[in-house]
Subunit: 193 residues, 2 copies
């Protein structure tokens, strides 16, 4: 039950941060969305909002990290897997009425300069995603340096396209970014093969 409350608080925070950012989300709002007693916040998170923020970033990061595995690995090849990942992201964004983009990006932009614990948590999550993508490229025979660069290129395309899609309320940027990412993977595979 205690664990349950803790989880509900993290899940509610993740959704609120992705939609309206960290600064715009109050502890009261988190408590209400999580249907948790107010006192439970400081019982589970003695560090208050900043601790909730850091844990939410890490939990969302782990959850979205699993998507890399579940979307890319079943695909017939890496380029298709990457394209499927962007297509899934576009579908999810459209279905959520352009609310659910990256759970980390807004917080990373807002608080990178203001909170060192939150900046570090964002950095760790991005690095874990880069490692997970890079590992798959290396397993596909792409060299280590190219795998790292390709992962950075693809994550930049994804995060940047999310911004353009949220602003335009259209998925055009994710479509274009996904095609560019898949083509980059295809070129790297061919020149390493």
């Amino acid at each position: 039950m205690a664990t349950d409350t803790r989880e509900r608080i993290i899940n509610a925070s993740a959704e609120l941060f992705a939609r309206q950012g960290y600064t715009g989300t109050g502890v009261k709002q988190i408590v209400a969305a999580a249907q948790a007693p107010f006192g439970s916040i400081y019982h589970h998170f003695p560090g208050g909002k900043e601790q909730i923020g850091a844990e939410t970033i890490r939990a969302s990061g782990a959850l979205y990290g699993l998507l890399i595995e579940s979307v890319i690995d079943p695909a017939p090849d890496l380029a298709t897997g990457i394209r499927d990942f962007f297509a899934g992201a576009a579908e999810h964004l459209r279905d959520s009425d352009y609310a659910d983009a990256c759970p980390i990006a807004t917080v990373a932009l807002e608080v990178a300069g203001a909170s060192e614990p939150l900046r570090q948590a964002s950095d760790e999550v991005f690095e874990s995603w880069l490692a997970a993508i890079g590992e798959r490229f290396r397993a596909g025979g792409i060299g280590e340096e190219t795998s790292r660069e390709l992962s950075l290129q693809i994550l930049s395309l994804l995060e940047g396209a999310f911004i353009l899609c949220r602003a335009s309320r259209r998925i055009e940027a994710l479509d274009v970014a996904g095609a560019a990412a898949a083509a980059a993977v295809g070129r790297a595979l061919r020149s390493s093969g």
Copy 2:
């Protein structure tokens, strides 16, 4: 003098929004940073913070749009111009201690779902940048559809890399994104030539 106050308010807002976001910036803070009398805010911006937000987005968008012209046009070729643009962005970000990334992105992510006027202003700015970049590609002989896609790809790379650089406090992502963007332009020029 009146115009001066107005400009100072917009300039102060632009800097504060880029560093800490729209939600985290209060009108009092804007007034203090602009060294403006408090009453002048509602004299110049009867629509309050949302009006300041929309005008700041448009003004920053126009200012940064000029950078496209001043950095890309003097370069010996378009691929070099694009690479120079990313290099300049990386230098500026590092010199500002990773504070000054894109003036629009944070606001676009934070408020896209909450304020339709601010979402529209962000969308207009991004579209104006895409048009300015695309125009240069078309002038370089690249077809219309490819020019649009290339512009979306490059702006996605730039905005996404800004997020990763702010979180990591390193310019690696902008370096990689700039190389990828320049290579994409080179390929498009060769296949149109």
